[in-house]
Symmetry: C2
Subunit: 222 residues, 2 copies
Amino acid sequence: MRILHHLPLSPFCRKVRIVLGEKRLEFEMKVEKTWERSPAFLAMNPAGTVPVLVEDDGTVICHSQAICEHLEREYPEVNLIGESSAERAEVRRIVAWFDEKFAREVTDNLYREKMMKRFLATAEPNSHAIRAGYQNIRYHLDYIGWLAERRKFLAGERFSLADIAAAAHICTLDYLGDVPWEAYPRAHEWYAPIKSRPSFRPLLADHVPGSPPPAHYADLDF
Amino acid sequence: MRILHHLPLSPFCRKVRIVLGEKRLEFEMKVEKTWERSPAFLAMNPAGTVPVLVEDDGTVICHSQAICEHLEREYPEVNLIGESSAERAEVRRIVAWFDEKFAREVTDNLYREKMMKRFLATAEPNSHAIRAGYQNIRYHLDYIGWLAERRKFLAGERFSLADIAAAAHICTLDYLGDVPWEAYPRAHEWYAPIKSRPSFRPLLADHVPGSPPPAHYADLDF
């Protein structure tokens, strides 16, 4: 059985879990406490990061975007990156927006400061970073709303990896209670049907011991 | 004519320039001073980053990895990402190593602190960051040497995007005089033939006004 080494709240792991779900591929999950730097895991991925996917034939694929490109090539029946060059460019542009820009401006400031620093126990959360994260998420929710007003989905007329990457980050922050939905109705309109997709359901069942999600997290009618 | 919007010393732009050269694709370059935040450029790429490639048919592709994936699909004759899943996984793993880990630990600390902050004129270079960059590059040169001892090229037996991504970062730092070659003979052995490739020649002719490279930068017998 295909194995995904992951952390439950990592948006990069969530992105891969949603893609596997959308493509209806079976997989087992193994939690990898990356901060323990296990030698067996570092031998698979010297960068020490999750997600890492191990295929049935033993092929090891590290890094969320490498995994998504691999799954798209091997299992193209459910197309998530688009057909034409222009479609693919727009999907990948928005994936990079969330996995790099949103990650740096929002996810790192909130998820990493609040959750990862607890596990790492290396430092206190930085309150300046957390304040910056709260500020920055607002302008990204504006951008989601702006796109969603002009298109059915973030990268165009069909559901794609762009929606998946964005929703993966958003749902991690939603678990922390850090998404100010009430002020961003258009972003909410885009997110609600995505949250209802079957591929999303396992994420809504995640539960980190000692850090329960807010009540609306798993509520499809939030 | 295909247009690449770029900055001469950006390793991400250099990666794309080398790929275009390896695939023997003609292109024009336009320098984009990203810190000026030109509205016309932001309309093409709202993230405001280079590289951005505009194909003859007007297709706009933002983000270096999206551009490389696009070029590999459209112009597969010169294969740079590999054939099998395992090869492709290893190439993309190493690309991500350099574009994320090396970028964060080395390039950001040296190129961004020393060069970009001059253009941005927002802040003084941070001497702690620069010291960290000097430390970190050593362990990455060790890793390059370790890989190059076991394989002909970084990701396996053939030249690939992994070598291109690594060499793009290294040559930007070499322009700054920040690569301690004398202590890393194996990394030097890997780099010397790459530096001699025709696709690399235009990079060696780059010259940023007011910041000339050290004498060995363009020397193939360095």
